[in-house]
């Protein structure tokens, strides 16, 4: 076989890049962030968290609250609130976050967070699950759940 395949692969790559650019599908570098608040079950023994602590919790590196209670993670499956939360507090894109947890689960290192389609489902889960932590759009859920201040 000679090098006939190279132009084909190069053409596919270039076509995808052109499509991406002109189709307006490039991942936005930073659209207007929605107001996301970190919420927790009433049993959670803290009122505030550092940004680093939020990252450690959502990457499974911190698994217990200060009273020994197990931390249960609740996430949204997709959407701007999900992307904004991950970008602001976890330092990952939704794809990177998904790959991170796939790696953890498929190598026996952890259990993936609960993931919900709608904020209402997530709010209900956090309300009813001791030790649970999640995030919600601030405007719609203010004063409905215990919110944690992020320092």
């Amino acid at each position: 076989m000679k090098l006939r395949s190279i132009p084909l692969i190069v053409r596919i790559v270039l076509a995808c890049m052109v499509l991406s650019v002109f189709g307006g599908l490039i991942v936005p570098a930073g659209h207007a962030a929605s107001e996301v608040m970190v919420v927790a079950n009433d049993s959670v023994p803290v009122k505030s968290l550092s940004r680093d602590a939020v990252q450690e919790i959502f990457l499974g590196r911190k698994t217990r609250w200060s009273d020994g209670q197990k931390i249960t993670l609740a996430t949204l499956k997709e959407g701007d609130d999900h992307s904004d939360f991950l970008r602001m507090y976890v330092g990952k894109t939704p794809q990177q976050f998904k790959n991170y947890w796939k790696s953890q689960v498929f190598t026996g290192r952890g259990k993936a967070p609960e993931a919900f389609t709608s904020p209402d489902e997530l709010a209900e889960f956090v309300t009813n699950t001791p030790g649970a932590i999640g995030y919600l759009p601030q405007r719609a859920y203010q004063n409905q759940l215990k919110s944690l201040m992020i320092e």
Binding site: K2, I9, S20, V27, K62, K102, S103, V105, F106
Partner: protein
């Protein structure tokens, strides 16, 4: 029995594929079930890359299914079955990839016992998981395909944990000790056969059995306070014994001459031996110690991922075959090889490899990646001249492999991924002799220095 296991394995995977449409693992009565199945195709312009890639091969696939459950707040049990094929490696036998009991005492201390994924570099634990990375083939300088089974998982016990460093980020560590089952028909055995230093004299070896005395691995990662930057270091070590059948290739002029000149050698050869390669009645034994160190760096900034790793592995190898080596002692001495009590010690040598990679996700469905990878099987012989002089290889470009790779990844939806990848290769190190036999035409080169490798892969995961 093996085929029944394979059918059950594939049936379970197929059933899961049908019922799953979620990015999360499927959950059944508290047991999380995840899986993946991928099929690839490899084509090279020259040289066979661990399979008959010159003719194009679809013997390139992986499938896995895992089950895990939290038995209590601190105890988790899990198991993963894996099947893979790459030419003669794997052959889709279903193996226990990992099976663990994990007790999480504190965030800074956890204990795992069982068959754990082997820690090495940034990506060794996830190298079976096509869906979590950009590339089809990881850089061969640090993730050599021939060593894949040898450093895939470790049976024993391990400690792990995460330690907060306040303003300096955090540290993750892993310590593992145990052993590994190495099959004589897998890549490590083929690699060992290629290290046999008497091929130029027409003496060949076929490894029959490998017994690993011990294996250890340790890894530390510093998740720095500079967002997205991870620095890491890892090490692993091996000690194993192997034995194999020795053959005399009578088409080799040196071997033919030895057979005629040394009557004692003729006595060691099977009188019913084949006309070309004759069986030598005494088996050869190997003793191998390998110690490896890897430095790693990964930086994620939004949709960009940059990684770089450097790995150095030092080998101590000795060969034992008293009847044969004592008989050939004068010939070996003339070739610069010293025999001591029927044992030949190869001078300690180190392989080095390094790469840098870059990947960028342009859209939620399209990602582009590239890497440059360099590997030298002997850091003191980067131009391959010594290998040729010692008769280990006939071509100096067996002394290096420089690989420029370009990959496209398409996420068709949450569960399906298609990847296309091209490699421009300079050199022929890491290629196995078993995949690239000596050509019948003496004027034809066994390996080509400049060649291309193309890979395509489609993966379903849930």
């Amino acid at each position: 029995m093996k085929s029944a296991v394979k059918i059950m394995f594939l049936s379970a995977l197929f059933a899961m594929c049908c019922i799953s449409g979620n990015i999360r693992a499927y959950e059944y009565h508290g047991v999380d079930i995840g899986g993946f199945i991928s099929q690839g195709y490899l084509q090279s312009t020259d040289n066979n890359f661990f399979a008959e890639t010159e003719d194009g091969t679809s013997q390139f696939n992986e499938a896995g299914i895992n089950f895990s459950a939290e038995v209590s707040d601190r105890l988790r049990l899990g198991v993963q079955f894996l099947s893979r094929d790459l030419g003669t490696i794997g052959n889709n036998e279903v193996i226990l990839d990992w099976a663990i009991a994990d007790y999480h005492f504190r965030d800074w201390l956890g204990l795992t016992v069982g068959n754990m994924k082997f820690v090495h570099g940034l990506y060794n634990e996830t190298r079976d998981l096509d869906m979590v990375r950009t590339f089809i083939l990881l850089p061969q300088s640090v993730y050599i395909e021939a060593w894949r089974e040898a450093i895939s998982s470790i049976q024993g016990a391990g400690l792990y944990g995460d330690i907060g460093l306040s303003d300096m980020g955090s540290l993750s560590y892993d310590l593992q000790y145990g052993t590994v089952n190495l099959d004589s028909d897998k890549g490590a055995a083929r690699l060992l056969e290629d290290q046999w230093p008497f091929q130029g004299m027409g003496l060949l070896v076929d490894v029959d059995r490998i017994n690993v005395d011990y294996t250890y691995a340790a890894s530390i990662r510093w998740i720095t306070n500079l967002e997205g930057l991870i620095l890491g270091g890892s090490t692993w070590g091996y000690q194993f014994e192997a034995d194999g059948t020795t053959l005399l290739d009578t088409t080799n002029p040196t071997a033919a001459a030895m057979l005629g000149d040394i009557p004692e050698l003729a006595a060691l050869v099977d009188p019913l031996g084949r006309s070309v390669a004759r069986l030598i009645l005494s088996p050869s034994e190997f003793g191998v110690e390998a110690v490896s160190y890897t430095a790693s760096m990964e930086f994620m900034w939004r949709n960009l991922v940059f990684a770089a790793e450097y790995m150095r592995t030092t080998y101590n190898i000795e060969f034992r075959n008293s009847p044969l080596f004592n008989t050939l002692e004068p010939v070996l001495r003339n070739n610069g090889v010293a025999v001591q009590d029927g044992t030949i010690e190869v001078d300690q040598f180190s392989s080095v490899g390094y790469y840098t990679s870059l990947a960028y996700r342009f859209t939620p469905w399209f990602e582009l990646g590239t890497y440059y990878s360099v590997y030298y099987p002997n850091e003191d012989d980067k131009d391959g001249k010594d290998r040729v002089a010692k008769g280990l290889d006939a071509q100096d470009h067996r002394g290096w492999l420089k690989d420029i790779a370009l990959t496209t990844r398409f996420d068709v939806n949450e569960n399906w991924i298609i990847k296309l990848e091209a490699h421009k290769m300079d050199g022929s190190a890491i290629l196995l002799g078993a995949d690239n036999p000596v050509p019948e035409d003496p004027g034809e080169d066994r390996y080509e220095e400049d060649w291309y490798l193309f890979a395509a892969k489609m993966t379903f995961h849930f």
